[in-house]
Each structure stands twice: as C-alpha cells, then as structure tokens.
C-alpha cells in the first residue's frame, strides 16, 4: 500500500533514467537529506559525532571509492588503507605547506594526488587479474605505509613520527584541530559525502559506468564492443582512489586529528572497507552506505548491549564482539552474497505487491 509505482508513468527516456524512478523513493531521499542537514546538526553531541556519525560518513566515502573499483569495475584491491594514508599525508603536507589556502581545496587536492598514486599502482591490472591483482595491491598497502613511516619529509620530521592536524576553518568555523564542535565537523563531512555520492552515481549511470561493468562482467566481450581495457581500468583506479583519498584526508584531519600511519591505515583498514562493500553490496551506491553503516554501527551497538545492558566486563565484550562481527560476515557471504543492497531490492519487489502478492 505504501510503496506503489502504479500510475507513475514515464513518458520520456530522461524520466526513465532517473536515479530514483519511483516517486516514493524520491521523497524518501529528499526527506533523508533534509533530516541530515536541518535536524541532525541541532541535536548532535560529541558522542554521536565521534562514535557513529563521523566514522559512518567518512567510511561511506571510502566504500563508494572501493565499490567503484571492486564492485563496478571488478578489480579487487587490498590497498585501500594505503590509499587512505596517501590522502591523509597529502592533506597534512598541503595544510602545513599552504596554511592560507582553504581546507576544502586541500581535501580535494589530496584526493587528486591519491588518484595519481592509484593510477600508478593500477597499471599492473592490465596484466594481472583476480587474486594476483589483490596481491599486487597488497604490495601497495605495505609499501605506502612503510614509506610514510620511514621518510621524514612526509611527517615534517616530527619527533613522534605522527602527523597532527592544525586548526583550520571554513567560513570562520573551525573544522579541524582540537577545539572543533561536533556539528561543524559533521556538516563538513556530510557535504563531502553528498557530493561524492552524487558524483559516483553520475559516473556509474552513463557510458563510463557501463565500460567499468563491461570489464567486470566479461573483459573479452568488453574489448570487442570497443572498450579500451587499460583506459577503463585506469579511470576506475583514478576515480576510486580519488574518493578513498578524500576519505583518508577527512579521517585524519577532521575525525582523528592525529595519525600514526601503521596503526590507523594498516591492512586492517583495507579489509574493513572491503568487508563494508561486500556486506553492503558490490556494485551499488546504496550498498556502500549500508555496508559502512552496518560495520560502524554494529560494534557500537554490541558494545552498548554487552557492557551496558548485560554488564559484562569490557575485555570479554570486545572479544565476543569480534566473534559476532566475524560470524555475521560469514553468514552474509553464504546467505546473501549480494549484500544488504540486494536485501533491500528484494524487499522493494515484495513491497510493490504487498499486501496482495500474486
């Protein structure tokens, strides 16, 4: 009853090609945006920002990026953590090197630099596929972390080897540094997320996205219809790394404020983002958000239930939490390999005919 497309006719191809062809979806989308921009900033507090919303938004950008590469173009990457580190260190060098330039440009430029690095490490993808490519990107992960640990220039030769985000403002409001307010950092990240999601959707709906998907589904057939495989793969690496770089920059500058590269951008981060897109749904924009939300919220939720409600000791709860998350990932791979996005798709198909399925 609530979810109908009857009477929602399309009379031209433009309407048929919209992102949300069903009116109900469209309203839901605008309502979500309105709440995110107009309600949440007024009720947000430090706990919600730091434990839930900021990591969710920032990981959402990273999952969008990895989903373009792995979900849309079919190139497995285990180098996400390394590329996030590139974004973070590029942002740090730009912030300290050009303190007068607005942080917004630093973040975008950091994305651009990461895109260039991503293309460089994407070059082997023309020759190697599947697991072998995954191993090659793993090399990128370890090399980049090693590089940022060893070469002092990247962390401005600070004694601790850490990088610390100096205070920067947008429209006079602090968004980085130790004294930011929750609503400002939240809004700053939200704007980046909305723009990135919009860009990702646009790039995947047209000829560029079809090139990627063609390479993913059958690269020989893709070549025969005129797709240059090198070009398609490298653009996927570039766009993906751009998003991942932005998320790395935000992760460092806005969320953490101080970063020790091996700890924050290690191999665990690569796997975390990979799990997010697998659980969320490969090749789906919505799935990127769902996966990020799931893996950010689940540990918080479990911790609250186990230590808060049940009153278990923290260390025991932490271990149980690992086990539950791991079991859930396995369960997902077995029961719904196409992820949360597919569950949502199936739900929608059921809802359309509810309550009188034929």
């Amino acid at each position: 009853m609530i979810y109908r497309e009857a009477g929602d006719f399309k009379t031209n191809y433009r309407e048929d090609g919209r992102t949300f062809p069903i009116r109900f979806d469209r309203w839901a989308y605008f309502a979500t945006l309105a709440v995110a921009f107009l309600v949440v900033p007024f009720v947000i507090n430090d706990y919600w920002a730091n434990a839930v919303l900021l990591p969710f938004l920032i990981y959402a950008i990273a999952t969008l990026g990895l989903n373009i590469l792995t979900g849309y173009c079919g190139q497995v990457s285990l180098g996400t953590g390394g590329f996030m580190a590139v974004g973070a260190y590029a942002c740090y060098k730009l912030m300290t090197g050009f303190p007068d330039v607005n942080i917004v440009f630093h973040v975008i430029l950091a994305g651009g630099i990461t895109a260039a690095v991503g293309v460089l490490f994407g070059l082997p993808s023309l020759r190697i596929k599947g697991f072998y490519l995954a191993v090659a990107t793993l090399a990128a992960q370890f090399f980049l972390v090693w590089l940022f640990n060893r070469v002092g220039w990247f962390y401005n030769y600070s004694a601790s080897g850490q990088i610390n985000a100096p205070t920067r403002t947008v429209f006079g409001v602090e968004v980085t540094g130790p004294t930011t307010s929750a609503w400002a950092t939240y809004l700053f990240c939200l704007v980046f997320v909305v723009i990135c999601a919009w860009l990702a959707r646009n790039m995947t709906r047209g000829s560029l996205g079809r090139k990627w998907m063609a390479i993913r589904d059958m690269d020989i057939a893709a070549e025969i219809i005129g797709v240059n495989p090198l070009g398609a793969k490298l653009t996927a690496f570039a766009v993906s790394s751009f998003f991942v770089g932005i998320s790395g920059a935000l992760f460092f500058a806005v969320y953490l404020g101080a970063v020790e590269v091996g700890e924050v951008f290690g191999i665990q981060k690569s796997f975390l983002v990979l799990f997010m897109i697998i659980i969320g749904g490969l090749g789906s924009i919505l799935g990127s958000f769902a996966g990020a939300a799931f893996l950010v919220l689940l540990p918080v939720f479990l911790k609250n239930v186990l230590t808060g409600t049940l009153g278990w000791p923290t260390d025991l709860a932490a271990h149980i939490e690992f086990m539950i998350v791991g079991a859930l990932i396995c369960a997902f791979l077995i029961f719904e390999p196409h992820g949360l996005a597919q569950l949502w798709r199936l739900t929608k198909e059921k809802l359309r005919t509810w309550p009188f399925p034929y």
Partner: protein, 273 residues
C-alpha cells in the same frame, strides 16, 4: 581482387571492379607448431551474407578472431575497405565498424538487457568524464539520444518485455538475441556471427534466421557467419567458404559448394540410401 601492380581493384576477367568490404589474403596463423589457418584468401562483398562452414577444428573461429583482432596472423594481410589493415587490438577493430557475437554467449551478466544493448553504443558515446560526473549537457543528451537508437533495436528484435531484466536470468535463446542486439546497436558495417543458432530448437532457429535476413535487408549490414546447420547456411547465405584443417577447400554460391566434390568428401558427406 586487389591488383598488386596497380594497387587498384579489377575483376579477374578485367570487366568490372567491385571493391569488397573485406579481403583476407594468404592468411597464415600458427600457434607454436600448430597451424590453425594455412594460406586462406577470400573476400566479403558489401551487403552480402557470407557463410564460413567446415568441420570442428577447421579454423573457422580462428578466422573470425583474426578479423576481430584477437589473433594476429603470422603471414598475410587483412584488407578492410580497400586499405591494408595494420595489426589492431579488438577495441580498435570495433571502432572501425566491425561487431560480432560469440559462440558461447559473451554478455555482461550483472547488467540489465537495456544496459547490455547500451554498451553496443559505447564507441559512439564521447562525453568527457567531467561532464558525466556532473551529468550536465553532453552526458545526459548523449545518453538520451543513444537510448532512442537502442530502443529501435530492442523493438526490432522484439525484446521490449525483458528490457529491465538482468541478463543472467534469461533463457538461452533470449540471451542469443540480446547478444545480437548488442552487436546491432553499434550499427556495424560488418557483423560477424559465430554460430548464432547453436543449441537452438527449430522455432528459435527460424526466428534467428529471419532476424539475420531482416538485419541484412533493412540495415544493409554485411554479415559473415559461422554455422553448422547446413539447411540454414544454404538458405541464408549468398556465398559460402568451406574450410577443412585450416585450408580453404571450397568457395562459391551455396549450389556450387553443395556440388563440390572436395566439400562433399570433407564435410557434407553423401546420403546412404
């Protein structure tokens, strides 16, 4: 034939000059010690349906792969539109206006029928990455224009009802038709069909034959096809090349080929009654 001395086309008796759309000359293709194609020469004239037949392993598919750029012959030249073709990658061949289908369906299984057919238009979609990212101007216009053309093809092949269905869910016969649609969406000058009727029942074969004839009629597309069903081949094609062990053993109209003793020995056989 292309005359070596003058560089111009002349019929062998010197009367009329017909420039074939594509000519293969003395093609030799080896894989290590195995010779897949030995010294094959033939041409494909504009607007005709040209069949390539022969027993399994005769080198028919290898020949198609030479045309579409997957294999590069060790000897011989491929002449397209009167010009010798340098060794090319498959995607460059596609951009010259040569489309093909595969023996084992090579569709994009994760995409809908519509998206699959739209990929056939990729060589014609030129809007920049920036325009697409922002979805302004050329990107959207191009998408809508090409969608119009794709819908014509979808109409033509009668697959409107499965437009938004993921290809992975379709039955075999429809997949074959979608693959033809994808090749047609490129509006090719030369269409290569590798066993378009393999594994089909009689009705599906009839449908497919009609589509092939219609494509040839309505769009004037030149077609080269590999097929094992002799009834279909003899009915559809204007001229037939027969291959055996990588050699050409016959070339001509269906009637000429049918009565060629070499072809009968190697492939057609004789009725025992």
């Amino acid at each position: 034939m292309l005359d070596d001395k003058t560089g111009e086309y002349a019929a062998e008796d010197g009367t009329e000059a017909v420039v074939p759309l594509m000519e293969m000359r003395n093609i030799v293709l080896r894989f290590g010690g195995v010779v897949a194609i030995r010294d094959i020469s033939f041409d494909i004239r504009e607007g005709e349906i040209r069949a390539i037949i022969g027993p399994n392993g005769a080198g028919k598919s290898s020949l198609l792969n030479v045309i579409s750029g997957f294999y590069h012959p060790q000897e011989g030249v491929v002449i397209f539109r009167g010009r010798e073709r340098a060794p090319m990658k498959p995607y460059q061949v596609a951009r010259q206006g040569i489309a093909r289908t595969f023996q084992n369906i090579a569709l994009f299984h994760g995409m809908t029928v519509l998206d699959n057919v739209m990929t056939g238009r990729l060589t014609r979609m030129k809007s920049s990455m920036a325009a697409q990212a922002l979805w302004i101007g050329s990107a959207e216009r191009e998408e809508i224009e090409n969608r119009g053309k794709v819908e014509e093809i979808i109409d033509f092949l009668n697959i409107q009802h499965i437009r938004k269905v993921p290809v992975g869910r379709l039955p075999y016969g429809l997949k074959k038709r979608v693959e033809l649609a994808r090749a047609l969406a490129a509006e090719p000058e030369l269409l290569l069909l590798d066993e378009p009727m393999a594994g089909m029942n009689v009705e599906e074969k009839e449908d497919m034959s009609r589509f092939i004839l219609d494509v040839n009629d309505e769009f004037g597309t030149t077609i080269a096809l590999i097929e094992h069903d002799m009834g279909v081949v003899m009915d559809l094609s204007d001229r037939v090349v027969v291959m055996d062990y990588g050699r050409k053993i016959g070339d001509g109209t269906p009637d000429e080929v049918r009565n060629n003793q070499d072809v009968i020995d190697a492939y057609l056989g004789v009725g025992h009654d």
